[in-house]
Amino acid sequence: MIRTLVYTALSGTVLFSATAAANSYKTGAEIQQYIDTLTEMGFPAPEEDQLVHIPPTMEDLEEADIHPKLKQTIRRGYDLFTNTQQLRGENVFNNMNCSSCHLGEGRMPFSAPIWPAAVTLPDFRGKNGHVNSLEERIAGCFAYSMNGEPPAYGSDDMLALSAYHQWLASGVEMYPKQDIYGRGFPAPDRPEQLSYSNGEKLYQQKCAVCHSEDGSGLRVDNQTVYPALWGDMSNNWGAGMVRIFTAAGFIKNNMPLGQPNSLSDQEAWDIAYYMDNQERPQDPRYTGDVEETAEMFNNFHQHSMYGKDSAGDGGLLGDHENTGDKPFLKPFNVGVPRNFEGNTD
């Protein structure tokens, strides 16, 4: 039973040496199956010494030798992750589910798999400038991507979501030293020029059939089928997806659904650029002045169109007080510092 693999390249053949893990659900052959599929779909093969992990599925959970109460908790976490809309009006104020961005239920390489959070946190995070726990990281998604208010730290829902993350990571060592294969939404190289008009044309040709011409997506029976890409029902200006490179990486690696890597790098970037030139709910870190906010969080917003003139209608993007359906600006977890400077070593 092998599940954590370190790849070594030898004479063009990818081989792996396996480290046995007690908590294992995928065999070496099963992991190879994923790698073969991914490379067939145009993704790179693992590089030498990258950490390759394929998380267990919900089918594996059924078979797992763990306490039935833990299984229930993980199932609840899975349910929240894939149907986050059940928290609508309480923790979620837009049309997003966690799984809207983290495809394959948070399990897939190149689609921001979520298990790395469980083995790399607590760690320092540049976005808020302090050491974040797993719960705090999840809370970040609620504040920005879900345009919401996170479930309370230590709450049942937070426990369930954490358990789901950790279950997906089972078998991986804590604080791995190796680079992680397929982590995040690896972005293609940025082309020299980004074109709004080309992005718009491509969006209407290739994306609008699902996400609709106005970016509002599609809901059926009060459930999200296709998430909103901009507007009130999308993520707010503080979400990672507003960084053009993140959206370009997501699009290149995942869209159209079922056809990853089918768009050229230029196409993926142009569509991302077009999306980022549209309006969305205010960044919860807003100070009351968009230019000041963009400057204050320049390490983030240098990659987005927030606080800049739209290449579309020319208006200043993010210059509004609209928080979408969320009846407040700032959830409890935004802007809360943490430091241990008073401690002695």
Binding site: E30, Q33, R107, C210, V220, D221, V225, N322
Partner: protein, 215 residues
């Protein structure tokens, strides 16, 4: 943002108006008359029929009108090829296509057939494909496009829950072989090509056993 919402809403309305102008309004009453030639296969109640080992006739009752109309137009133009359907589609005018589509769309959906004798293990696999997909093969779930419980999403993605197993199977195979390719941007074709025969069977029988409407 308020200004933006209004602009977006106006754009949405304009789009809908544009579609309405392009396609004539369907009249279900008139559609009923034009549909008399459809009943030999699709049955008077629109239920169609699962034909084991033969060509199954899809249930039309309760499907999205715009979806049915597009298929009929595609049969006519040859974009979707089917020897049985083409001559009938050719007999219909644009107005009759709209009428027939409206007629079948307003009918109560009937249960799917052909999944009755499937084993528990096969159904479980079918459920996995439909609800979660199998990412080890990069087969995405049915519901990610066909909507909650695969009961359909808008005019482009038809309800497939409660459709006959034989029909689902035949269509997936047609996409796989390339003999059906009238989906937008190869969205179905790309997935079907990645499916094994076993998985096509499993998902077809599981879907046939599901209710076509929310219970």
């Amino acid at each position: 943002m308020r200004k933006l919402s209004i602009t977006l809403a106006a754009l949405g309305l304009a789009t809908q108006a544009g579609l309405a102008q392009a396609a004539p309004e369907g009249d279900p009453e008139k559609g009923k008359q034009a549909a008399t030639m459809c009943t030999a296969c699709h049955q008077a109640d629109g239920s169609g029929k699962h034909v084991e080992g033969g060509e199954s006739w899809p249930r039309l009752a309760g499907l999205n009108a715009e979806y049915i109309a597009k298929q009929l137009h595609d049969f006519k133009s040859g974009k979707r090829q089917n020897a049985s359907m083409m001559p009938f589609a050719n007999m219909l005018s644009d107005q009759q296509i709209a009428d027939v589509s409206a007629y079948y769309a307003q009918m109560d959906a009937t249960p799917g057939q052909g999944g009755e004798n499937a084993s528990e293990a096969v159904l479980k696999r079918g459920e996995q494909i439909a609800e979660r997909g199998d990412w080890s093969e990069y087969v995405v779930s049915c519901k990610s496009c066909h909507g909650p419980d695969s009961r359909g999403a808008g005019a482009t993605f038809p309800g497939i829950a409660g459709q006959h197993a034989g029909y689902i199977k035949a269509q997936l195979k047609a996409w796989q072989e390339g003999s059906r390719s009238n989906d937008p941007q190869n969205l179905m074709g790309a997935v079907a090509k990645r499916m094994s025969n076993e998985d096509i069977h499993a998902v077809a029988v599981w879907l046939a056993n599901q209710s076509p409407v929310a219970e």
